[in-house]
Symmetry: D2
Subunit: 390 residues, 4 copies
């Protein structure tokens, strides 16, 4: 039997003119033709909001100047018209409230990271998600790459043996000098009122930590941290190093920086086991190195040979047709849409979307790192509850 | 003033279940949210066609089992509903007739390459395009990459000096052994009845030739060719080498092969001038090397520094967020949609889509190469008129 | 005027059969034809010593079974026959005594690193060098690479602006599993009686620290360290991470490891300034990346364009003829031989050989890192005097 | 039993001040400490010759201003003093006569390539070598690389299956513009009186052909060629392309060029079989790629895992300590010295030095290519006898 498929209806909060990540979210949502953008609260500026909506072929009636208004209005629409989930792409300080109101209005949430402004908010959000029973996804984009999924599988299958050391770098250079005045991206990320207590660790360090924990399927339990505000006059960190220990006994290093002149979006990870090691780098995402003790290294490539089923499901084209960042992002959207489609049914959901636990662990990583950086003591135990961090 | 944008309506011929390139065309059409698939003649098999359409969220009424029927039915629809252009993604032997009927029914055409089954058909198609005055685009995907556009600009701006030598390889390995029986992609490409007089040169060599002519803005005028059917029992070529001379006095080499075991989709080009040279490779499309005589080489990257305006317009994300094959393909679609949108208006069209001249030159390249390969004479003048090739 | 050149006469302590680094020292000494090996105390085993000497075309009379005997005997030879300097290539615990006796016997010393068994010995050696007034060189091989010399010059010339962050990795994998019983290299390096208080930091971490200080011409002043003995049963570290601050205000990370399965001799360094950054990696030593904020990266290559005069003097072949580890090593030998040749003359010596200050700083790095690793306090001030480390 | 080793005594013709390749030959001869330079006819200019000799620590009495004189004088010396072989490093036009006189005077010969000025000379030299029964070696340097030796073994062992296609490029850029007046290297290479009938093919194309035949252990039997004199005023080729067929049924392409601006010494080879393919590139000589159909590629590295015994014997340092061009060159010298040492004995000689057959095939390649390039016919059978080429 073949039923007619329908597109999942999405709304968006944030992503008006001048925004960066909102555009990417929309490209990702478009790619596979399974999601339809039906409404948005793109900007508090009514004109910006309307212009954005029109450029996206939306009717003015579905462009709202506040997310509260949007949730209200959409709830009132017939169920086959109203949005089913909301993509949250505002600056950090709004994430929590948008997600909270959306969930409490009955809408699933797919949020940009970091999940919230603070760990306390993340702790609170976790409760709301549990209470509403709705879907909550977090766009930890890099988990959408096929070879990241395969790397996880390799570790899980024991291909590396016991993991002993992990090194992850996330180096960018765009904040190496004071940004120009009209750089909105830089402005809100460097402002504690919109970004939270960290710039570099909150914006990108958290991706590295997430990647470490995802690929190793292990947890960072202790850390030693040193954050730096390199450029004069900055309140928040633009660079930092974290040494860590994991639950299963590995050690590791995360170096995150936004002052690495000449580096673009250089996220990489090396995982060393006692049998083999792996290496992956975001800027060449279709290659995964697996290296052995005194035997030839192997270069695994997207589309070549057998990859894990999760990896395979995340590939759209044959070998040698490079897929990139937008495709990885679209994998998260595609998987989330699948979850929305089967929500409430008995259907088995194999799609894996980073969720609320990633949200809490991510915020915990950020706040614990900031705390540890300010301490004179070397090692700190990572805690997940904001109340335990004085 | 801000008007509401609308999506351009697309139909598709070909691309039913089991097809490869049709899927890519749809991803490319989806990406930027400016095109809407409204109908399709995906397969002559009615069930396949309907299943494909449903999976794409199309109404059964817009799924047709013949393109003739589709053109007829769509023409009868109100203008604000009917498709505006058709994407042709069938095997080669149908390209001409689909394009011909579409144009004669008043629809613009965006065709997969090679444009037609034979040079004679391409010559005929050129006349039909001219007569109807409608848009004809050819998805020479690789021209959609930002750094290919920038490479062209560098040559045009004289950054390389006088071009002296060009080397382009297009090496794949997937036909190195006899393909399995259920490999439809291999089957029709190796069959002269569906593919035409060449497999390797028609499928991929023509991309290399197109890239050479596009980047250098020069024309191949003379060639010496040697084609091979490496795997026993094959009628058509699976490998070949072409040495050529250009109008402006450069020399060059094209090596195209489908028997290069271990190579994925390895299209690359080196252009040498008397001042500098450039190197680009499709599998790492976000990097462009420019090399100098006795001075450091430069690595140009998508998103870093100033690129040509055409290149800039083809980029969606910041530096270090790799865009790939689908994005390049989507650039062709986006540009073609823009042309469709302003068709008939006085609006200036800066969008550059490979068109009917590329179609003719591509088919001429294929047939001239086959002709030259069979000759004992070294050099042949490339002719564009099928009648001049006995 | 053209005088006949003569070869500088060298003796060697260590480097008998089964040794590794002694062989490399001899290849390095041979390469440029300016040094002649005239004698050796290759092994305490008389047969091994003699066999080694004969394989090296030495007369039995110049093969000694103890270095004390060698210094005595050589001193007694006519000045135009006796060795002029001694290469010390024994395990670490003998370095000091060999160097001490050699210097006190009137011979210049070129020693493998680390310079001594302990910082206290290095402090003592510094005084002996000063007292004897003779030459003391340390084979910090990696400083012999042309592009390392050029990197230093770039920093010195301000090409990078103010240095803000330095990341150096030295990853090997050969000790990831317990070594086989007959692996002499592993045996003495893992034994505190022959290696000293550190394996990994003493063997390779010290190279990374040396490279950091050399290229930046800055000094590590504070450090936070974490060493690990990954493989069960090991007393000494086989892995470690050091976070540091420098005199001129940069921050940095050194990751050194011998348990990085699949890594060969992967020493690399990234130096970030506020204007530009550089990247060099020992396994591809003829390439040096210089990267800029929002402008194309530059790839500097040995033999291409203008390099610093020190770099230029360290190159033997034209561009594209890869020189490697032995050539870098030979540059240290060549420069040391030049110093020996002009020793005592008024001649200006521009040849730069890492000397006794490198010896002291290297041993200080090792001991301070071990001390800091054992502490619960995060930051420690690096001290050069062994007495200040309780 | 352990006998005292002795160094093999070498003389040199050519390599005076201003020469390039002579210096490299001497470094290569020095490296392993098994060869001693005892005399030279470095230059016809007596002062240059003497200065060169002195810089090399030679006594004036062993510096000759003509090779005829040198052979005469050395022959007269006691056998334990006189040179045993001569290294020929003059411009091409002298190679034959030097080799001929040396052989006829009883000295073994190790010659730079191309072996002679013409194929006719190579044919004649082959007879002289046979008649004298002495050793003749040709420094086809690239065969000295460990991974080239291993690549040959892989093909021989059937690891690639049946070889179907070979692509070798040798691209340099140094002659892309008219060289400066004092560039002696360029001057004699571009002059038919000193270089012979080809510049590019004779200087570097012949290396590519040699590499193709060595690794595949196959022979080029037919060729189609196109040579170009790109820079105005040049008599000889500075660029060329050769398409070829081999005895065992493979096809191939050689592109050689000296006008590839920005390329250094870019010799590379790809060998495709029906099971696997390999890729090697001279500028990164310690890496060898082996690629498979739909399985991960393997990166073989010098020092990692099991290599062929010939490859293993050509390595001096552990993995990750890059060896390069001089080491490859030294392998030829070391192997030749071994042959000289055991000459006349019953000892089995496993050392493999490219010899007189390489000399003849190399010269045949050059002359056949020039001949084929001037022809209007596409394919030509490669002949080894100069008389068969009109």
């Amino acid at each position: 039997m073949s039923v007619q498929h329908r597109k999942i209806r999405m709304g968006m909060v944030g992503g008006g003119e001048g925004a960066f990540i909102g555009v990417v979210h929309r490209l990702a949502a478009n790619l596979d033709g399974v999601i339809e953008l039906v409404c948005g609260a793109f900007s508090r500026d009514a004109e910006n909001c309307k212009r954005t909506g029109r450029a996206l072929c939306l009717d003015d009636s579905r462009c709202y100047t506040s997310y509260a208004e949007m949730f209200e209005a959409e709830k009132a629409l017939p169920s086959e018209q109203r949005m089913e989930f909301v993509a949250v792409v505002t600056p950090n300080h709004l994430h929590f409230d948008v997600a909270k109101q959306a969930l409490e209005s009955g809408f699933h949430v797919l949020s940009d990271k970091p999940a919230t402004f603070s760990l306390a908010e993340a702790n609170a959000l976790e409760k709301i998600v549990a209470k509403t029973g709705l879907l909550y996804g977090l766009t930890h984009t890099y988990l959408g790459y096929p070879l990241v999924k395969h790397a996880k599988q390799l570790v899980q299958d024991g291909a590396l043996g016991k993991v002993t050391k992990v090194v992850s770098h996330y180096h960018q250079g765009w904040l190496a000098t004071p940004p120009s005045e009209d750089n909105k991206q830089a402005e809100w990320r460097l402002d504690p009122k919109t970004a939270g207590i960290s710039c570099c660790m909150g914006d990108i360090g958290v991706h590295a930590a997430n990647l470490v924990e995802y690929i190793t399927q292990d947890e960072i339990t202790e850390l030693c941290a040193d954050l730096t505000s390199t450029v004069e006059g900055r309140v928040l960190d633009d660079d930092g190093c974290v040494i860590f220990k994991t639950k299963q006994g590995a050690k590791g290093i995360i170096s995150a920086s936004q002052i690495c002149v000449g580096d673009e979006n250089d996220l990489s990870i090396k995982v060393y086991g006692d049998k083999a090691s792996l290496f992956w780098r975001q800027e060449e995402p279709n290659s995964l190195w697996v290296k052995y003790q005194n035997a030839p290294s192997q270069l695994l490539r997207v589309g070549v040979g057998e990859l894990s089923s999760e990896a395979q499901a995340a590939i759209r084209t044959p070998a040698g047709h490079p897929e990139g960042y937008i495709e990885a992002f679209a994998n998260i959207y595609k998987d989330f849409a699948k979850q929305v489609a089967i929500f409430g049914s008995d259907g088995l959901d194999e799609a894996e979307v980073p969720g609320i636990e990633h949200a809490v662990r991510g915020m915990a990583f950020i706040e614990n790192v900031v705390y540890a950086s300010q301490s004179e003591q070397k090692w700190h135990t990572l805690v997940l509850d904001a109340n335990e961090l004085k």
